[in-house]
Amino acid sequence: MERRHSLRSHTIRLVALAAALACRPADRASRPPRDAGYTVRDDAGRTVALAQPARRIVSLSPAVTELLFALGVGDRVVGRTTWCDYPPPARLVPSVGDGLNPNLEAVAARRPDLVVLYRSPLNETAAAQLGRLGIPAAVLRQDRLEDVARAARLLGRLTGRAAAGDSLADSLTRLLETGVPAAHTGLAFVVWDNPPMVIGGGSYLDQLATLAGAANVFHDIGAASATVALETIATRDPDVIAVVSDSAEPRPPAFARRREWRVIRAVRERRFVYVVGSLFGRPGPRAGVAAAELRRLLGQVKR
């Protein structure tokens, strides 16, 4: 009995401590601590509670930066990653690093009232550390189009732009639900040549292929990307090979010149499309633009 009592009082003390910690930013803002409007549960299952809409946001992923600008709160972004290059005004925001293993001091130095991170184990640790500094942090999955829609909703809530967030999310969801004519073009995304790596069904690019009226020939691989043997690509026999490139001027990939790659029909016939990493490599609000662009590129190859 005695023991259970002490355990309970210990628990109460812990809860009180946690509440006190959680209230700290709220005290500063002298607002009631519970405001459902600015409270969300992020993709790591953490509760992110803001006393007021976020005013100084550090975005640690290019997709989030794009989303914030799309929601009309780009002027509240006070920190970004080196990869955040769209929309152009985003480049004027100070960079705090590459966002993969965030430098917390550089992030904290921007005095943010919200930090948004891509969901990864490393970033979840970083979010917990930011929490200890009293900086609210949201961890968001950004791997597929559904994730972007959900992120738009959550960011809308956190920035006091719930209506804009919901409408962006709805338009992205509609994009997914729109019927697309049955695919005739078999497409393979080759992202690395040695070992050969292709994009699988669990990826954003696979969704874009469908939206563009093509079929990823590696749709059956559940992972986002996978190493495969050359003979597997040759047997799947894609009509077109899509190459993700960072450079502005598209040129045939180095592997196109290699004899062993010429077993693949699309390589022999030089049926390549070049997609730019900054538009296609990251799930974001421009998904519709990317899908239309891919459809246009595929149309050019067929001719």
Binding site: T227, A229, L230, T232, A234, R258, E260
Partner: protein, 313 residues
């Protein structure tokens, strides 16, 4: 009898690598298939040559440094090759041969450095210093590699490591031809060192008394094994385990005499890598496993079995 068994295993491993694959090719159409002629045949040959070379280098180096833990990558070669490959990527050298060539140059650089450090005590190559120098050079190269990777923003660098962890997906007739021209010399040097290596096993002093030319022998074996390994890294990355365990496995069957041990190690290493690569391609098709994982998964149980039999005798 042992030789017949090993020969049959080697032939079976090679044929299996040609016949089996993720793509279905009917047996009757095997010779006419583009997939078999352009992809599987060179890949099986490359697997055999690389596996054999790694096992042979391992056997030679184990005898040279008189340490059972020695393997072809102990002497800083993997670190040097990795550094070369990462530098090539960081400098945006795009040619398909840039990566292998850079890895080769890096491995040779590490070899030269280790060799020079091995001579620090005087004109004699000291095996103990050689091991320490190898570990030190490897660690240094790995540190520089990590520094480049963490400071550079090329997403390609992650994939460089995939390549470096080994695999035979780069196989083509070009790489087979390249090895075919390159390998005979270091192979011949190692095979020719079989008898003197037996003497060296007795210790350097006794070997000298028995008439072995110890210093030139050590240099020849070190350089030949390193050149073999550097070429293997260039065409297939760092494939672990073959060079460490195959020589020991063959020792349990053929004993410590190098005259039979070296050719047996070559055949055994070739068979193990050809078999492992087939498993890597087929087991999780349409995906592919890194071959280094399979060499360990296939090799360790076989090795454990041989070890048990050996210790029981």
């Amino acid at each position: 009898m042992k030789w017949l068994g090993l020969g049959l295993v080697a032939v079976a491993a090679f044929l299996g690598a040609v016949v089996l694959g993720p793509a279905h090719v009917p047996l009757a159409g095997l010779a006419a298939s583009d997939i078999v002629r352009t992809l599987r045949l060179p890949r099986a040959l490359l697997a055999f040559l690389v596996g054999g070379s790694l096992a042979l280098s391992g056997a030679g180096l184990q005898a040279l440094v008189r340490n059972p833990l020695a393997d072809p990558f102990l002497l800083g070669l993997s670190g040097g090759a990795g550094l070369g490959a990462v530098v090539a990527i960081a400098l945006h050298l795009a040619s398909p041969w840039a990566l292998p060539l850079a890895a080769f140059v890096g491995a040779l650089g590490a070899t030269a450095l280790v060799y020079r450090l091995g001579l620090v005590g005087g004109a004699e190559l000291d095996p103990r210093v050689l091991i320490l120098a190898g570990v030190a050079v490897g660690a240094f190269a790995a540190a520089v590699t990590t520094a480049i990777v963490s400071l550079s923003d090329a997403a390609e660098l992650r994939n460089t490591f995939l390549w470096l962890w080994g695999g035979l997906s780069g196989a083509s007739w070009d790489t087979v031809l390249l090895l075919g021209v390159y390998l005979p010399l270091p192979l011949a040097v190692l095979f020719a060192a079989a008898r003197p290596l037996d003497l060296l096993a007795l210790g350097e002093e006794p070997a000298r008394h028995l008439g072995a030319d110890v210093e030139p022998l050590k240099r020849r074996v070190f350089l030949a094994a390193s050149l073999l390994t550097a070429a293997c890294v260039a065409v297939s990355g760092v494939i672990g385990f073959v060079g460490l365990v195959v020589p020991h496995a063959m020792r349990t069957l053929w004993g410590h005499r190098h005259r039979p041990l070296l050719p047996a190690a070559f055949l055994g290493g070739g068979a193990l890598l050809a078999l492992s690569d087939t498993v890597a391609r087929v087991a999780v098709a349409p995906r592919e496993l890194p071959v280094g994982i399979v060499t360990a998964l296939v090799g360790v149980p076989v090795f454990a079995l041989l070890l048990r039999r050996w210790t029981a005798n």
